[in-house]
Symmetry: D2
Subunit: 428 residues, 4 copies
C-alpha cells in the first residue's frame, strides 16, 4: 500500500532537523491546497502578541507530528515488535499529518465565538470534495474513511489512535518542542528521542517501559510549565478576549442589519452559520487580520476600537483576584453600569476553568488520556499511581481569576466607583 518515492525527500526543520518523506501519498498530501492553507494558520493563535517569535504555523507542526510518528513506527519496525500492526503504517502517517487540517484562523477564539469544532472540520475536509480526499481515495477504497476515523478516535484499532492522539502522543511531543523553540522559552525542551525509545506497542495500545518513568515526568512537567508560562499567559488571554469580543460584536452588528464598510463572503457565511467546506478553506488568518484592519475605521465605535486594539496591540489590562473575591463581581458590574460603562465589553472575567487547553488529568479519565507504564514483569500501571510528581500536577486547582478591562476608560470612571471597587483597579 506504501508507494515509496524514487528518492527520499526532506524538509529542513529547526526542531527535527529534517522531516523525511518516503512515500508518494504523503508527498502528494503535503502539496494539496488544503494542507498548504495551514501555512496561514498560526500554531499558537495570538501568542505572537506575547512572544514575538511565535509566528510558526500549523503547517510546520503538522509536518513535525508526521515526523515523530514516522520515527516511532520506524523503531517499532526495526525491533520487530509483534504487537505493532505493520499494515497500519500508512493510515497512521496520514492521520498524523492531517489531524489539524480543519483548524480555522485563531482557532480557539473562533470556535468559542461561533460554536465550531476543528475536529469536525478536519473530517469534513477529508471526506469532502477536496484534493486531500482525491489522493486518499487513490490509495484504496474506504481509505479516506479510515483516516477520518483515526482522527475521530473511533478507529477499530485503538493503538493507531493512541499514537496520534493520547496523553503522550506525537502531537503533544511536537508542539512542546516547537512552541518552546519559537517562543524561545526552554521549558518545553523534552528528550523526544528518549521518550520514543521507551514506547512499546502492547496488547492493542501504546505503553511506556517503567524505566522511562522519569522521562515521562519530565515531559508532563514540560507541559505543565508551557501551560502556565506560554499557553495561559495573561497577556495572551487578553488578546484572545479581544478577539472573541470582536467576533461577538461583528456578529451582533451583522444580525442587527448594520451596514459594514468592509465585508467578505466567508465572514457573512460565518455570521449566518452557513459555512461550506469551500468557504472554510478560504478562512485564514490573513483574511481575519485584513478584515480587522479595515474594521478599525468602521463607524461602530465598539467594533472599531476593539479592532484597533487588536491590530496595534493595545490590549486590555488585568487584575488578578482571589477566589473569595468572586462575591464582588455583581457589585463591580453594577458600578460599571452606573458609571456608563458596558460590562459586556469593558469587564471580562477569566478563570482557569474557561481555559481551552487540557492540563493533564489522571484517574477517572477515558483511557486515551492515561499514560500506562509497563514493568519488567509485564504489569501495567497508570503513571499517577507510581509518580508523586504526576499526582501533584494532576489535581491542580487554580482558584484565582482575572478581570480584564480597558485601562483608560476605567481610570476615568474610577472616582465614581465605591472605595472597595475602586481599590481593585487602583495602583494596579
Amino acid at each position: 500500500m506504501m508507494h515509496p518515492l524514487n528518492e527520499e525527500k526532506v524538509f529542513k526543520d529547526p526542531v527535527h532537523n529534517y522531516i523525511h518523506v518516503e512515500d508518494t501519498t504523503i508527498w502528494r498530501l503535503i502539496n494539496t491546497a488544503e494542507f498548504q492553507r495551514l501555512r496561514r494558520i498560526r500554531q499558537l493563535g495570538t501568542s505572537y502578541l506575547t512572544f514575538h517569535g511565535a509566528e510558526h504555523s500549523r503547517f510546520s507542526h503538522s509536518l513535525g507530528v508526521y515526523e515523530i510518528t514516522r520515527q516511532i513506527i520506524a523503531l517499532f519496525e526495526r525491533n520487530n515488535y509483534s504487537d505493532w500492526p505493520k499494515e497500519e503504517k500508512l493510515v497512521t502517517l496520514c492521520a498524523a499529518l492531517l489531524h489539524d487540517v480543519g483548524h480555522g484562523p485563531f482557532s480557539h477564539s473562533i470556535e468559542e465565538a461561533f460554536h465550531m469544532n476543528h475536529e469536525e472540520w478536519t473530517v469534513r475536509i477529508i471526506m469532502g470534495d477536496t484534493q486531500i480526499h482525491d489522493i486518499l481515495s487513490q490509495v484504496e477504497p474506504g481509505f479516506p474513511e479510515r483516516v477520518a476515523s483515526v482522527i475521530g478516535k473511533t478507529y477499530h484499532k485503538p493503538i493507531v489512535v493512541n499514537l496520534v492522539s493520547s496523553a503522550l502522543d506525537a502531537d503533544r511531543m511536537d508542539y512542546l518542542l516547537r512552541d518552546a523553540y519559537y517562543t524561545g522559552v526552554n521549558y518545553g525542551t523534552i528528550d523526544v528521542d528518549r521518550i520514543i525509545r521507551m514506547l512499546r506497542p502492547h496488547q492493542g495500545r501504546i505503553v511506556v517501559k517503567e524505566s522511562g518513568m522519569h522521562a515521562v515526568e519530565d515531559y508532563l512537567m514540560a507541559r505543565y510549565q508551557m501551560y502556565w508560562q506560554v499557553y495561559f499567559h495573561p497577556v495572551t488571554r487578553s488578546s484572545e478576549i479581544i478577539l472573541r469580543l470582536i467576533f461577538q460584536r461583528a456578529k451582533e452588528l451583522y444580525i442587527s442589519g448594520y451596514y459594514f464598510e468592509f465585508m467578505m463572503k466567508p465572514l457573512v457565511s460565518l455570521f449566518k452559520d452557513e459555512v461550506t467546506v469551500e468557504q472554510y478553506l478560504k478562512l485564514d488568518e490573513a483574511l481575519i487580520q485584513t478584515a480587522f484592519m479595515q474594521w478599525s475605521t468602521e463607524k461602530d465605535p465598539i467594533l472599531s476600537e476593539l479592532c484597533s486594539r487588536f491590530m496595534h496591540r493595545r490590549l486590555y489590562k488585568y487584575v488578578e483576584l482571589e477566589p473569595l473575591d468572586r462575591d464582588m463581581i455583581h457589585e463591580i458590574r453594577d458600578q460599571f453600569y452606573q458609571s456608563g460603562l458596558d460590562p459586556k465589553y469593558d469587564l471580562i472575567i477569566d478563570s482557569p476553568s474557561d481555559l481551552p487547553y487540557d492540563v493533564f488529568h489522571s484517574g477517572d479519565e477515558a483511557s486515551q488520556k492515561q499514560i500506562i507504564l509497563l514493568d519488567r514483569q509485564g504489569k501495567l500501571m497508570e503513571i499517577s499511581e507510581v509518580s508523586d510528581i504526576v499526582r501533584s500536577i494532576s489535581g491542580l486547582q487554580r482558584g484565582k481569576f482575572r478581570l480584564y478591562y480597558p485601562e483608560q476608560k476605567i481610570e476615568a470612571a474610577l472616582s465614581s466607583f465605591s472605595p472597595s471597587v475602586a481599590r481593585i483597579f487602583k495602583d494596579n
Copy 2:
C-alpha cells in the same frame, strides 16, 4: 536625554534570549501602531515557501538589531573608549530600532514591481503624521530629523551610521543569526559576542581589532553561505517571480480598466502610484494574501492562475543554464510564441545580477561597505588586503542563469519545439 524606565523591561527572544529595554522612548516607540505593523511583514518575504520555519517578522528582527546595538554601546561605555560619542546613544538606538519601519509587504518584489524604496518610506514614516514622529519629537526639537538622517546615511557623525548600517553592522549580525534560527540551517551561526568584543570606535568610525580577523572571516562566510543556501534559493526565487508577475498583471489589468471582483483601497493607490503614509501603513502581508486568495477566482485567467499558484504553492519549475546558453534565449522565446505560449508570463529569466541582495564586495566600494582592521601599531587595513578568504568571496562571479516556467504548459508544448530547445526542458 535618556529617560530610564523605573524597571528594566524585557522581551523573550529566541536569538538573544532577552531584549532589554531600559529607556522610556524606546519602550513607547515599540508600542506604536507603525512599529507593531512590522509583525505583519515577514523578515524573509516568501522564503517561508522554501523553509517552512521562516515565518519570523521584521518586528522580531528590529528588536534584535536594537539589542545588538545596545550591547555594543554598553561595551563601549563600560570600557570608556574615548572615540565613542556618548551623547549619541539614544539617536543610535532609535535608528537601530526603526531602520526597517518602512518595509512593505514582500518588500523586494513589491519594490521591484512598483518602483518603491523602503528606506524612503522609513524616512516618510519617521517624519510624517505618525505616533513615531510624536514620540521622537518629545525627546527634543529636531530629534526625528536626526534619526531619519542616520537611516538616510547622511548623519554628520559617520560612526553612528556605521553601527546601524555598514558591512559589519547590527542589522546584518541579527539577520544572519535570526534567519539561521528560523529556517533551521546552521550556516548563519556566528559568534556575535566575539565580534562585538572586537569592535572599536576609532577616529569617527567602527573598526575591528586585528585579532578579530578570523571572526570576521567567519561572519563573511556565514553571509556567503546564507546567500546561496537561503536568500538566493531557487525555489524562493520562483515564488518571488510569481509574486512579481501577479503585481505586474494586476497593474496591467487595472490600467486597462478591468473590473476586479475584489479590490481594496490601498491596492488602488498602489496601482495609481498615489500611496499616502496612512494607506501605506495598512499595506501588510495579510492584505496582500487576502487579495491574492480572492483573485485566485478572478475571471482573468492569467491573474487567477498566478494567484492560485502563489497561495497553494504550485511554483514555476526551473532549469539552470550555462553562460554560453544566453544566445539561445531568442530562439526559445520565438518557439514559445509559435507554440501559443506567452514568454512574458511563461518564461522568466533569472540571473544573479538581478538579485536584490548585495554580497560582500571590497575595493572601490564606498567606505560604509568596507570592514577595516586595526592592528597593534594603530595601522588600518581593509580586510580584503589581509584575508585570502575574503578576497576569494569578494570577486564572486556566477555566470549561470535560470529559466523559470509553468511545467505542465511547457510539457504540453514540448513536441512543437525544435530539438535543441526541447532538450533544455526535457528530463529536467
Copy 3:
C-alpha cells in the same frame, strides 16, 4: 577594594559563552597552583564511566559559579537595590570562585573512606601557606578570614552566604547547566537568566519575586531529574562503590603491614591520617588513577581485582529490591559466607539514604536551605507553602534499595544458594 584590570579578560566557556574577569584579584586567584589543580579533579567524579562526556573539571565549574555570581551582583548594582551591600562584592566573588578549592580526587568516595570534608580543606587552603592566601592577604588585612567564613557559612552578612550557598545559589545553577551540557542530557537546562532576573536582595537575604515561582519550580524539577538520571545513576553508584572498596582495602593492607609494589607519599599520609596541605594539593585524580593502574597487578588478589575493575570499567552488577526484602539480607549474607564469598567485598547494599547529595527538603530545614518568595505586598512565603509541585518532590521517599555484586563470582556460587536467594540473582 576592587582593582579593575586594564582590559576585561574572558575565558571561553560552553555554558556561559564567556566568563568575564574584571578584577585583578580574581585574575590572580585563577592563576594560582591551588586553583589550577582543580583542572585535575572531575566535577562529577566517576560519572564519566556512565556518561562518557562528563569529563569536565571543578575548574570549569568554579569559573561558572563565579560568573553567575558576577551577573547577579551586576544586576543588583544596575538596579540600585538598596538591600544589597555594595561593599561585599569582592568577598562574594572570591568565595564563589574558591568555594570548591578543597575538593579532593573523587571527592565523595574519598571523603567517605577517609572521613574527610572538602569544606574544611577549602578553609585550610585559604588560610594556609598558599598562593591563594598570599593574594587574598594583599587585598586587606583579614580578607582571607572573611572569604573563609563565607564558605564556612558563618559570615556576619547572611546575604553573602545566600548567594554562594543556599537552596537556589550560583553553585547549583552552574552545576545543573554544566552537568547537563557535558553529559548530554537535557534535564538540567534551566533558564538561568530568568532566575537571576527574579532574585532580589531583601532584608539581609536573597528572595525570589512571586512571579518567578514557576521558574523556581522548573529549577527544582531540573535538580530532581538530574539527581535520578545522573547523580544517582545505578552504574555511577557501582563505580563509586568499587572506588570506596579500593580505598578500604588499600588502607586495611597498609595498616596490616602489607608491602605495596607501588606506593606514593600522599597516599601513605592518607592511610595514616596525616595529610598536610602541601600533600593534599598533590592529591589529584591523575595520581589516584596511576596508583590504581599500578595496583591492578599487585599481589593482593582483592586489591588488584578491584583496581582492574575500576580501570577497565568492569563494574559490579546490581539488583533492585523492594523495602520488604530488607529482611532477606541476613539470609543472603549467610549464604555468601557458606559459599566462600566475602560479603564485605562481594555484596554491597546501597540505599538512597546513603546518597551523598541532598535532594531539596523543605519545612524544618535551616534557613539557608529554604527558597523564599516575595509577593507584591511584600509578604514572604516559603516556596513549598505555595507550590504543590515542590511539596511533591520534597517528601520524596525511595524505599527501594540495591545489591551490588561481582557477577561471575555470584553466578558460579548460584547453585549452592537456597532457592529464594538464588532467585534474586538469577535472570537479572
Copy 4:
C-alpha cells in the same frame, strides 16, 4: 557476519544525542581494556589549558566516528546504492571504532619527542596479544588483519578506507563537531546530516553530489577556522612546547645516568625505546601528569621548573615575528648565550610548518586527500577546480613565526641584550 544484539544499546552523547550499537562485536570491543584506556587520553591533548572545557577523551571521539560511519552505511543501505559493497559493513565499523586506539598520552608531543607513530601502535594493538585481537579473531579468520589494513590504508577496497580516512571522513566530521562542542567555540558546527545525505558510493570511492558543494565549503571553512582558532592556538602551542621540553630533558637526564626521585617502568622503557604493547597500554595521561607532578620537586632545576610550569599552567610567553625577522634568530641566540640563558630551553622557535595537523591541500595530493564532486551528468571534479573558496584556503601560507620564552628570565636579561634584540621582547 554481523551478530545483532537482542536489543539495540545506546550511549548518551552530547554531540550525536545517542550512539547506537546494534552488533555484538562492536559492543564487546567497546568493553575491552584497550578501548576503555582511551578514556584516559584527551582528544585535544593540552588544549584544555587554553579552552577549559576541552577535557573530552578519545573514547568519546571514537564512539562518535563509529556512529557517523554507522549512519552513512545505514543511508547507503536504505537507498540500495549498488556501488556500496554491503559485505564490508562490519570491517568498516570496526576500523572506524578502533582507528585511534593506538594514541598515546598527549599524542602529538610524545610522538615528536620519542619518534613514535600512533597508527603503527593501533596496528600493533589490533594484531597483538590483546582483548581486541581476541574479539576480532572470533568474527572469522583473518578479520584482525582486514581491520588493521583499513587503518593502514592498504585495504583492497579503497571505498572502505575512504569512509574511515579521507579529506571528508567520519573522523574529521566527528572531531570538528566534538571539539567545537567541548571548547565552546561555534566555528566547527557543521551540518553533518546534510553532508551525509550528499555522500555517494561511486566506482570504488566516496564522492559528493554536486549540489552538496556549499555544504563541503562550509565544512572546509569550519576546519580552517578550527585550525586557527583552536588547534594552532598560540597558548596551546606554548603548552605543547613545554611538554616536549620535559620529555627531552627527562630523556637526556636518564641517558646521562641521573637518579630520579620518582620513576615508573613504562617511562623507563620509553626512554630506552623498548616499549612493549603491554607497557604502552599503561601509558596514559594520568601517569604522565603524576610523573610531572612528582618531578616538579626533582633536584634538576630545568626538569622541575618545566614540570611545575606545566602542572600549574605557567606557560612560556611568545612574540610573533615577520618572515623577514628570521635572519635575526642567530643574533638572538648569541645574546641568549652571552646572557647566560640556554637557548635550548629558553628560546623555542615555532613556525606553522612545524604544525602537526594537516590543513586541507588540493592538487597534487594523493587521492585519499581529495574531495570529489559528482555532477548530474556523472562527471567527476576535484572540489578545488570548482570552488574559489576552497582554492583560497588551500594555498594558505603563513610566513609568520613565533618565539616562545620564559618571561621573567628574559626580562631579567633584557638590559644585557643589544637594542634590536631587546626591542623584540620589550613591551610585549
